[in-house]
C-alpha cells in the first residue's frame, strides 16, 4: 500500500535510477576479454592474414591452393598462381573446401559402434587402437594377411606409400583406390588405340578444333579448372573466328552451353554420331596420318555407320555431319574428347575409341595429347575391381576393411549388395571425417584430419608434385592417418620396420630422397623442402612440349575395333535414363557443404535437393508438370525426385544429377530425393565400368508436388537484352566503333540527361569488366563471394521465399528460338547515378569518392526502398538474423561485418581488399597498381571473365576493355551509368 502513495515524480526518479543502473549493466562490455598468446608464434601476427600453400584434395584434380589463416584459423582458400594445374584459380568445390574443416557434422573424436543398438559411442584412441591391433593379431595368427583390405579414394605419394608399407607388414596387397569417376572406357580406349592405358594431358588451348562427346570438361571431367583455363585460351577470338567447339550429348550441360553447337542426341546416339563422323572422314579420305591399308580396315569396321544410318538413329542430319567433317578437315590440330565412363553414353567405350582414332587421323593432334603427363586418375581401379571386392566380402574373404574417404555404399549399384557384404567383414574401420553411408556400416570410426589440417603430398599428374601442409591447427580430436598406421605397424612389427616418429617424418624423408638437385649439402635439402613448402610443391616449367608423343599407331588401330550399332529400341516411346556428375558436388562427395547446396545449379538454377530433368514435350505426353514428385522405376529399384522440365534434354530421356539423395552425410546433404545409381542394373560395360545409363525406366506420378527451389525468375530475357551477344561477323565489322557505354566518370555527365550533379573521383574509380564471351557459368565466383563476404546460407525454405543472400548471381538466359545459353554474372553495378542512393531516407547507400556504392549497415533501418528502386535487383535484405551452425562461424572473414536482421546488403567490390591494397600501396608510397589485387570473384574466375581495376586510369585493363566496341551496360538506357561494364558474347555458327 505504501508504495502507491509515491508521487509520480518520485516514482519516475526511482524508476530512472533503477533503469539506468540496469541499462548500464546490461550494456556492460566488461564481458569482453582479450586473450593473449602464451608464447608468440613466429609466423602469425594477430589481425594479419598468413597465407600457406597447399594442395586441394576436394577432387582428384589436385589444384594448388593458398589458404588464408587469420589468427590461427583458416578462413578462405584461393588458387595458387604458381601451380601448373590451376594457375591461381579454383572451382566452386575448391572454394567451399573450408566448410569441410568447420563442418558441424564432422566426427569430433573416435567412436565405436555398439553391435546391438547400432549406436555410436565415443571411445579413446588407445581403446580403438587396441581393437584394431587385436583384429590384426588374430588375422596374422591365422596367416590371413590377404584378408586385410584398404579402400581409399585416389591417393598418391607418401600417404600411398605408408598405406603400402602398413599392408606389407600385414602381408596384404589389398590397397584399392576407388574413384566413382574412374574413366574406365577412356583408359581402355587409349590403351587399345595409343598403347598407353592412361588419361593423358589434353592441351585444349593448343588445339584448333574441339569436339566433345559428352565430356563435361568445364564441370567435372578429369581436371575441370585446368581445362577451363585452357578452354578460355582456346576460345579467344582470332582473325577468322573463335576456334570451333562442338558438343554432342544428351544434355545441354554447362560445357555444352559453351559450345558453338550442342548437337542433341539420345544417350545411345552419342557413339553412333562418333562412328558416323569417323565413317564420313574416312569416306572423304581424310586420314593423313594413316596408311591406306589401315584406313581400309577402319573403314570396314565402321562401314555400317553411314550418314543415313546416323540420321535414322539419332536424328542428326547429314548436313550437320558434313559440316562437322568439313570443320574437322580444315583443322590442323583437331582434338576429340569422349566422356569415357558411361554416365551419359552407354556406348562409352566405342565413343572413346572413336575419339582416340579421330585424334589419330591428323598428325598435328599428337602435339596436343601429352602422354608424358598422365593423370594420376589413371591409377584408380575400374568399377569391376569394386565388384570383385564386394564378391570377396560376400564370400567371407575379407576380415578387416579399412576405409578412407571412399563412400562405396553411396556409389555402387544396390544390386551388388555392398551393404550385405560388409556385414560379413569382421571389422570395418572408417578413417573418414564425416559420417556417410559407408561409415554407417563401420564398427570403428577413427576420424582423420581433413586435408587442410594435414601434412601430405599429392601428384595430380606426372611431373607435378603438390605438397600439403596444415594451414590450421586440428579442430577436433582427430589424428593424421599416417600417424595411426605407423603406430599400428610399430605395434605389429616393431620400430625396425617403422622407424619414423610420425607421418611428417615419412613425408620429409621421401621428399629428401626424391630431391633431384643432387647436392650433398644438407642445407640444399632443407632449402628444396622449404622452397616446395613456399611454392606449394615441385614441378617443371609448365609449357614444355610433350616428352612422350604417342604415335598414331596404324597396327593398333585395327585391334579389336568392331563397333556394333546399338540395338534399335523396339518401343520408340520407352524412357531412357542417365545421370551426370555436377559442378557442385562432383560424385556427391561435396554435398555436405552448405555453400554448394545454396549455389544454384548453373543450368537449372535449382538449389538444395535433387531433381529429375525431363523434356517438356515428353512431360506433356506423360502429363507431368514442373515439381511433380515422380517415382522412377528400373528393373532393380526405384527412386523419387521432383520433375524439372528442361528442354536441354533429349526427348524421351530422363536425366538426374549425381550427388543428391544421401541417406547419411550430415544435415546439409541428406535428402529423400534419390541417388540415381540405385537404379543401375549392376551390369558392367566392356571396359569394366558400371553401366549407368538405362534404356528403359518407367515413371509414375506420386501425386505430390514438390517444386524444385529455383532462383531464376524466368528462363528467358523476354526481349530485354540484358545478356547481349553479337555474331563473330558483327564483332569484326564493329571493331573500332565507340561502345554503348556512358562512362561512370565525370565525363559521363550531361546536363540534358542528368538530374543530380556528377560525382568527383580523386584517383580511383573502381570498376569491373565482365567478358560474357569468356564466362562459362561455372559458379566459382559465387562461392568465392560467399566465403569472402560472410554471406549467409539461408536454406531451402527461405530460398523458396526469395530470401537467398547471394551478392553475385550467375544469371542464365536461354535463347527463345534455339538451345543456346547466355550466362551473365550479376552483382551490384556500383552505378554513378545509383537509383538506390536517392531513395534512402537515412542515406545508408552512400556514394564513395572512389565510385563505389557503399551500404552503411549501421545506418540502414530496413525500409527496403533501395531494393525496390534497384533495377538490377542485386540488393539483399536480411529478413532474419541468419545463423551459422557451429563451428561454421569460424569460417567467417574477420574483415567483414556479419550482418543482422533488418539490414540491407549487397556486393561491395570486396571493399576490404581495396582497403588492404591501398594500405599496402600507401606504405610503399605509391598508387595501387593495375591488377595488384582482385575481388574474390575475379580472383577465382577460371576463365578470366572478370577484370577489376581503376577506370579513371586510361591505361588500366578495365579502361582498355571498356573502350572495346563490344562493351555495354546492362539496362544502360535507364541512365544509371553502371560501374560494371559487360562485353557482349561472341557467337558463331559452323553448322
Amino acid at each position: 500500500m505504501d508504495i502507491l502513495t509515491l508521487s509520480r515524480r518520485q516514482f519516475l526518479k526511482a524508476a530512472g535510477v533503477t533503469g539506468f543502473t540496469a541499462l548500464l549493466n546490461g550494456c556492460s562490455d566488461t564481458t569482453r576479454t582479450l586473450i593473449p598468446y602464451l608464447a608468440a608464434p613466429e609466423d602469425i601476427i594477430p589481425g594479419k592474414a598468413t597465407w600457406y600453400a597447399t594442395t586441394c584434395r576436394e577432387c582428384p584434380a589436385g589444384c594448388g591452393m593458398l589458404a588464408k589463416n587469420r589468427d590461427g584459423r583458416v578462413v578462405k582458400v584461393e588458387g595458387n598462381p604458381l601451380h601448373p594445374v590451376n594457375t591461381g584459380r579454383l572451382c566452386a568445390r575448391g572454394q567451399a573446401s573450408v566448410q569441410g574443416v568447420y563442418n558441424p557434422d564432422r566426427y569430433r573424436r573416435p567412436f565405436t559402434r555398439i553391435p546391438k543398438s547400432h549406436k555410436l559411442v565415443p571411445t579413446t584412441w588407445s581403446e580403438a587402437e587396441k581393437t584394431v591391433l587385436a583384429a590384426l593379431a588374430s588375422i596374422l595368427q591365422h596367416g590371413r594377411g590377404q584378408a586385410v583390405t584398404f579402400l581409399t579414394d585416389l591417393t598418391t605419394g607418401s600417404e600411398r606409400a605408408v598405406i603400402g608399407r602398413f599392408l606389407e607388414a600385414v602381408g596384404s596387397d589389398g590397397h584399392i583406390m576407388y574413384e566413382p569417376l574412374a574413366y574406365e572406357s577412356l583408359m581402355r580406349a587409349n590403351k587399345e588405340i595409343f598403347g598407353i592405358e592412361a588419361i593423358p594431358d589434353y592441351r585444349i588451348d593448343e588445339a584448333d578444333f574441339l569436339i566433345s562427346f559428352g565430356a563435361d570438361f568445364l564441370e567435372t571431367w578429369v581436371s575441370n579448372v585446368q581445362f577451363a583455363r585452357r578452354f578460355a585460351r582456346f576460345r579467344e577470338p582470332g582473325k577468322n573466328g573463335k576456334n570451333p567447339f562442338l558438343y554432342i550429348g544428351p544434355r545441354l550441360s554447362v560445357t555444352a552451353a559453351n559450345a558453338d553447337h550442342w548437337i542433341a542426341v539420345p544417350p545411345d546416339g552419342v557413339s553412333v554420331v562418333a562412328l558416323g563422323l569417323l565413317h564420313l572422314l574416312l569416306d572423304k579420305n581424310h586420314a593423313p596420318a594413316l596408311d591406306g591399308k589401315d584406313r581400309d580396315r577402319l573403314m570396314h569396321a565402321v562401314r555400317e555407320f553411314t550418314p543415313q544410318f546416323v540420321e535414322g538413329r539419332t536424328g542428326v542430319k547429314r548436313e550437320a555431319l558434313d559440316t562437322m567433317a568439313a570443320a574437322f578437315m580444315k583443322a590442323r590440330k583437331p582434338l576429340v574428347l569422349a566422356e569415357g565412363m558411361g554416365y551419359q553414353d552407354p556406348g562409352a567405350l566405342d565413343t572413346a575409341k572413336v575419339a582416340a582414332l579421330l585424334s589419330s587421323l591428323v598428325p598435328g593432334t599428337s602435339e596436343v595429347i601429352d602422354f608424358s603427363r598422365v593423370s594420376s586418375l589413371s591409377r584408380a581401379v575400374r568399377a569391376e575391381e569394386m565388384k570383385r571386392l564386394v564378391d570377396r566380402m560376400h564370400s567371407g574373404e575379407v576380415d578387416l576393411l579399412f576405409i578412407l574417404r571412399a563412400n562405396p555404399a553411396f556409389h555402387l549399384p544396390l544390386r551388388w549388395g555392398f551393404a550385405d557384404a560388409v556385414k560379413r567383414v569382421r571389422l570395418v574401420v572408417s578413417f573418414s571425417s564425416f559420417e556417410d553411408e559407408t561409415g554407417q556400416m563401420a564398427h570403428l570410426i577413427l576420424p582423420t584430419h581433413t586435408f587442410l589440417e594435414s601434412w601430405g603430398d599429392f601428384e595430380p599428374h606426372a611431373g607435378v608434385l603438390g605438397l600439403l601442409q596444415p594451414v590450421t591447427g586440428p579442430m577436433f580430436d582427430t589424428l593424421p592417418l599416417g600417424d595411426m598406421l605407423l603406430s599400428f605397424g610399430r605395434s605389429l612389427k616393431g620400430i625396425g620396420m617403422f622407424p619414423e616418429r610420425d607421418f611428417y617424418e615419412v613425408l620429409r624423408r621421401s621428399w629428401e630422397a626424391s630431391d633431384k638437385t643432387n647436392l650433398p649439402s644438407p642445407n640444399t635439402v632443407q632449402s628444396t623442402w622449404q622452397e616446395a613448402l613456399r611454392r606449394g610443391g615441385l614441378w617443371g616449367p609448365p609449357d614444355e612440349p610433350p616428352a612422350v608423343r604417342y604415335r598414331p599407331s596404324t597396327s593398333r588401330a585395327k585391334q579389336s575395333f568392331e563397333p556394333q550399332p546399338p540395338a534399335a529400341s523396339s518401343a520408340p516411346r520407352d524412357l531412357s535414363f542417365f545421370s551426370y556428375p555436377t559442378v557442385q558436388f562432383l560424385d556427391g562427395r561435396s554435398s555436405n557443404r552448405p555453400f554448394l547446396q545454396e549455389l544454384p545449379d548453373p543450368i537449372t538454377a535449382i538449389t538444395w535437393g535433387g531433381w529429375v530433368e525431363i523434356n517438356p514435350e515428353t512431360a506433356g505426353r506423360l502429363a507431368i508438370k514442373e515439381g511433380d514428385l515422380l517415382r522412377i522405376r528400373s528393373e532393380s529399384g526405384s527412386i523419387q525426385a521432383p520433375a524439372h522440365l528442361y528442354f536441354g534434354i533429349a526427348r524421351d530421356t530422363l536425366a538426374m544429377p549425381v550427388g543428391h539423395g544421401h541417406s547419411a552425410f550430415g544435415r546439409y546433404a541428406t535428402s529423400e530425393f534419390g541417388n540415381p545409381v540405385y537404379l543401375a542394373t549392376g551390369g558392367l560395360d566392356g571396359a569394366g565400368g558400371i553401366k549407368r545409363t538405362l534404356s528403359r525406366v518407367t515413371v509414375t506420378r506420386t501425386g505430390i508436388s514438390s517444386l524444385p527451389v529455383r532462383t531464376d525468375g524466368s528462363p528467358y530475357q523476354h526481349g530485354r537484352e540484358i545478356a547481349r551477344a553479337v555474331t563473330f561477323r558483327q564483332h569484326v565489322t564493329m571493331t573500332g566503333d565507340a561502345p554503348e557505354v556512358v562512362p561512370p566518370l565525370a565525363g559521363g555527365f550531361s546536363k540534358e540527361r542528368d538530374f543530380y550533379p556528377s560525382h568527383t573521383h580523386d584517383v580511383y574509380r573502381w570498376s569491373m569488366v565482365v567478358d560474357l564471351d569468356r564466362c562459362i557459368g561455372c559458379g566459382a565466383c559465387v562461392v568465392a563471394c560467399y566465403a569472402e563476404n560472410n554471406i549467409a546460407v539461408v536454406g531451402k525454405k527461405d530460398v523458396l521465399k526469395g530470401r537467398e543472400m547471394a551478392w553475385l548471381h550467375v544469371q542464365r538466359y536461354f535463347e527463345e528460338t534455339e538451345p543456346r545459353v547466355r550466362f551473365l554474372p550479376m552483382m551490384c553495378q556500383h552505378c554513378d547515378e545509383a537509383p538506390c542512393e536517392s531513395v534512402c531516407p537515412v542515406f545508408a547507400p552512400h556514394h564513395s569518392r572512389e565510385g563505389i556504392n557503399n551500404q552503411v549497415y549501421n545506418r540502414c533501418i530496413g525500409t527496403r526502398y533501395c531494393s525496390q528502386n534497384c533495377p538490377y535487383k542485386v540488393r539483399r535484405f536480411n529478413w532474419l538474423t541468419w545463423t551459422h551452425d557451429p563451428p561454421l562461424q569460424w569460417q567467417l572473414n574477420p574483415d567483414v561485418t556479419v550482418r543482422t536482421k533488418g539490414v540491407m546488403e549487397k556486393c561491395s567490390f570486396c571493399i576490404q581488399r581495396i582497403v588492404e591494397a591501398k594500405m599496402k600501396a600507401r606504405s610503399e608510397n605509391r598508387l595501387v597498381r593495375d591488377g595488384e589485387f582482385a575481388p574474390a570473384c575475379a580472383q577465382t574466375c577460371p576463365a578470366d571473365a572478370l577484370t577489376f581495376g581503376n577506370l579513371k586510369d586510361p591505361h588500366s585493363r578495365v579502361a582498355q576493355l571498356a573502350g572495346q566496341a563490344r562493351a555495354y551496360q546492362v539496362l544502360g538506357d535507364l541512365n544509371t551509368k553502371p560501374g560494371v561494364i559487360y562485353l557482349k558474347r561472341i557467337t558463331q555458327r559452323i553448322i
Partner: protein, 183 residues
C-alpha cells in the same frame, strides 16, 4: 465527531507517508551505493583486471615504450597484447615473488592465457586499423587511449563516431564510410 475523525485520520496518515519516504530513500541509497561501488568504480578507475597490472608503473615510472608490449601496432590493425611469456622476460628477475606475479606465473604454468578485460573497442561494424594512425599520422598512443602513464587501471574511453570523425575532419583524413571504417 467529524473533527475527531479528521484528526485521527491525519495523525494516522502522516507517519504512513513518512514511512513511505523513508522506504524510498533506503532503496535509493542502496542503489546509489551499489552503483558507486560496483559500476562507477569501473568508470572512475577502470575495471579490475585478472592480474593487477599497472600501466602507471610500466609506462610511466619505468618508461617502457608502449611498443615493447603492444608490438604489432605498426604492423597490424591490432596493436596486440604481450604474450604471457613476455612478462617473464623481466619478471623472472624482478619481483618474481610478488603475489600478483605469482598469479601471472600460475596462468603461464597452467597454459591459461590471461583473460584481460578489454578497455578499448569499437563496434563490430567498425574496422579500426592502428597502422594509419600510428605509422603514417604519427599520433601518440595517448591521443586516443588517454594518459595511460598516470593510470594504474585503464579507464574506459567511449569511442563514439563523433570521436573519430572530429579528428578525421581536423586532420583531413579519409571520411568516406567504407574506405575509412565501415565495411
Amino acid at each position: 465527531m467529524t473533527g475527531h475523525a479528521e484528526t485521527s485520520v491525519t495523525t494516522s496518515d502522516k507517519p504512513a507517508v513518512w514511512r513511505g519516504r523513508v522506504w524510498l530513500m533506503v532503496v535509493a541509497v542502496i542503489f546509489a551505493a551499489m552503483f558507486f561501488l560496483y559500476y562507477y568504480e569501473d568508470i572512475r578507475i577502470g575495471p579490475p583486471q585478472p592480474v593487477s597490472f599497472s600501466h602507471r608503473v610500466h609506462a610511466g615510472v619505468k618508461e617502457i615504450n608502449c611498443r615493447f608490449c603492444h608490438s604489432n601496432v605498426e604492423r597490424s590493425a591490432h596493436a596486440g597484447l604481450p604474450e604471457v611469456e613476455k612478462c617473464f622476460f623481466c619478471h623472472k628477475y624482478i619481483i618474481p615473488k610478488y603475489p600478483e606475479m605469482q598469479k601471472e606465473e600460475r596462468f603461464f604454468n597452467t597454459n591459461t592465457p590471461v583473460p584481460w578485460v578489454r578497455i578499448f573497442w569499437v563496434p563490430d561494424f567498425v574496422f579500426f586499423n592502428h597502422i594509419p594512425h600510428i605509422k603514417w599520422a604519427g599520433f601518440d598512443c595517448s591521443r586516443c587511449h588517454g594518459d595511460v602513464k598516470t593510470m594504474d587501471r585503464l579507464e574506459y574511453t567511449k569511442f563514439q563516431m563523433n570521436f573519430c570523425i572530429t579528428c578525421h575532419r581536423e586532420n583531413r583524413a579519409q571520411v568516406d564510410c567504407w574506405l575509412a571504417c565501415h565495411r
